[in-house]
Amino acid sequence: MTLVRLLGGGMILCSGAIAAYASVRRERGRLSVLEAWISLLSYIRGQIDLYMTPLSEILAGADPALLAILGTLSPSPTLEDCFAASADRLDAESRRILIGYLADLGSAYRETELKRCDACLAALSSQRKKMADELPARLRLAVGLRLCFSLGATIVLW
């Protein structure tokens, strides 16, 4: 009986540890997706500024590693594909900023596009800084909560 209890308790603790690990990955993933968007927008800004590349061709020269972080599997992805693939891994504020930016992208002349892109990059960068500052505390909270919950459950069920 004790062996069964030990086994059950061990399983609960293990699942708590796995859940903690998954939440750490998710929190770090959010930050890396946001960083990937910042890099992608910087690249897009350069393409608009230097080459005035149309949107239909703009992602052809983008770093495949960046697109992979965003989760696009399509060989010739659009910005909408990138957003759809990464939306659930973005925080609400970054999502709101990107939706606003992407909705108007391509509808203005170069100077205005560059200003909009700069504004979007500034907003995302400030969001990234906020998230990076909060990350250690969020990780501690996520890991602590899951481990405490699994420990508590083990004790209660013993």
Binding site: M52, T53, L55, S56, S107, R110
Partner: protein, 303 residues
Amino acid sequence: MQSFCSSRPRLTLPSGLLELLPSRLSSAIEVCGAAKAEELRLHSGRISTVTYQSRSYSTGIILSDAELRELLQKMCGGSLYAYGESINQGYLTLEGGIRVGVCGTAALKDGRIIGVGSVTGLTVRIPHAVSVNATPVTDCLLRMRRLGGVLLYAPPGVGKTTLLRAVAAEISSLAYAWRTVVVDTRRELGCTLTDPTLTLDVLVGYPRRTGIEIAVRSLGAELVICDEIGSPEDAQAILSAANCGVPLLASAHAASLTELLRRPALCELHRTGVFGAYVGLERGSGGFRYHFSDRRQADAALL
């Protein structure tokens, strides 16, 4: 102007263009269609018309500001900024050499157009495959090889660009194989020059002056072709190309030789002997008719 549906000519448009147009306009054009439309004139708050055999027909459709704005956005492939420079110059070129004239309100900064706001009109010129006998002009160029270039002139819409394309294809074909460089500033001259056997290079989107300089200095051109010359900057670049011994085949808007040489930049080019021959172009029922003039005749026209 005739009513479109009363005369009912059957009009066909390139499918790519039909997809861009507001559905009510494209269906109005399709329903009534049978020959080839040459031009669409679309206005916000005014009737849209179709031109066929130089006659305008009303479509009965009045587009709104929003529809015209959306159409322009679609024509730019959702990337207005990529066409900003050409829109500022009053046009944009679509796939297949379709040229769209843009009319609106110019935003100026230091006397330079920096954008076109509230677009009120789009004039869509649709190119057609016309069988052109370019050989007389090619022969003229061959005769002129060491004596100067050839300048084509005609009023707008006659077919100068079509003829330039035909000459470019003929003279850079294996029969002559001249190293030809086409300076395609407006992205419409080189769009059909895709035959892999042609010995030509196409400089797409380059300003005429820069394009001519590159053609002469870097691409070893034996012939430079460019469309619609006439500005003092063009004249300066053409002069430096001509001084390198590279003949030029160019076109300019003018109804007659006298009118052509009244333009200061072209008159200057004539005086310096850049062009050895002038070819007036006229469209007749059996194709193009050419009026060749040499320098002496041009001098007489100038007087």
